[in-house]
């Protein structure tokens, strides 16, 4: 898994590439929490993410809850394929704010 950080509008954008599972989801969790700790809005870019398991989803849920408490935005961009199926299976598509493309932001 690669995580590339960049700025996009008022968001800190995390571009996820590859596969997130129990082996590396702690890296995602720490990265997300460090951004929120710096009080930045988060945009998690799923567009090139190939796989995510429940440990990765749990990192997103925990971070989303932290963002809500801090009144920070937390959005998922471009979810498709297997990662989108996981969000549907866990019924989290209706919990996370999701956007299809950058133009929606």
């Amino acid at each position: 898994m690669d995580i590339i950080k960049s700025s996009f509008k008022h968001y800190e954008r995390l571009h996820l590439n590859g596969e997130i599972d129990l082996h590396n989801s702690s890296v995602l969790r720490e990265t997300l929490l460090s951004i929120l700790n710096a009080e930045q809005h988060v945009l998690v870019d799923f567009s090139e993410l190939q796989y995510i398991d429940s440990s990765g989803i749990a990192a997103l849920v925990e971070s989303f809850n932290v963002a809500k408490k801090q009144s920070l935005e937390f959005k998922i961009l471009g979810a498709c394929g297997s990662p989108l199926q996981v969000l549907e299976l866990t019924r989290l598509v209706s919990v996370f704010p999701m956007v299809d493309s950058e133009t929606c932001l």
Binding site: E19, D21, A58, E62, Q85, L89
Partner: protein
């Protein structure tokens, strides 16, 4: 039951990627549609990850076995370990609260698979049996 694939590995999180590849290849051969393959791979990954995380508490010296069988119109997955024995109650998916991170793995396994049970067998450890109907012949490979 006809044994299709037999995988044995150490209880390292780094092996999960290889297990997913093997399960995906088997599911392609069985003719499941892509969406089902994604879900089955995820469910098996979750079951193996649970063994590593909760059974072995991330100790990498444990043993994990995965056997894939074809049994008539269904595929049977056996995930085995040598951990402290668990019971059927431990496999019950707890009611989920959407904004809480816990319990997702077991929820996924139950959502994807047709049945989730422990099988009697090994003197030590556990064998989790997951069953999934094969797709209808006319739908295979779509």
């Amino acid at each position: 039951m006809k044994l299709i694939k037999n995988i044995e590995c150490q209880s390292c999180t780094s092996v999960l990627c290889n297990i997913r590849q093997d399960v995906k290849a088997a599911c392609v051969d069985f003719g499941y549609p892509d969406a089902d393959i994604n879900n089955i791979v995820l469910a098996i990954d979750e079951a193996c990850a649970n063994v590593i995380r909760y059974g072995y508490n991330y100790c990498e010296k444990g043993w994990v076995g995965l056997k894939i069988y074809e049994n008539g119109g269904e595929v049977v997955f056996h995930i085995s370990d040598r951990c402290a024995q668990i019971c059927e109650d431990d496999l019950t998916a707890k009611p989920r609260c959407d904004d809480q991170p816990g319990g997702l793995g077991l929820h996924i396994i139950h959502e994807v698979m047709d049945s989730v049970h422990l099988v009697d067998g090994p003197v030590e450890g556990n064998t989790l049996e997951l069953r999934k109907q094969l797709p209808p012949k006319e739908a295979q490979g779509q």
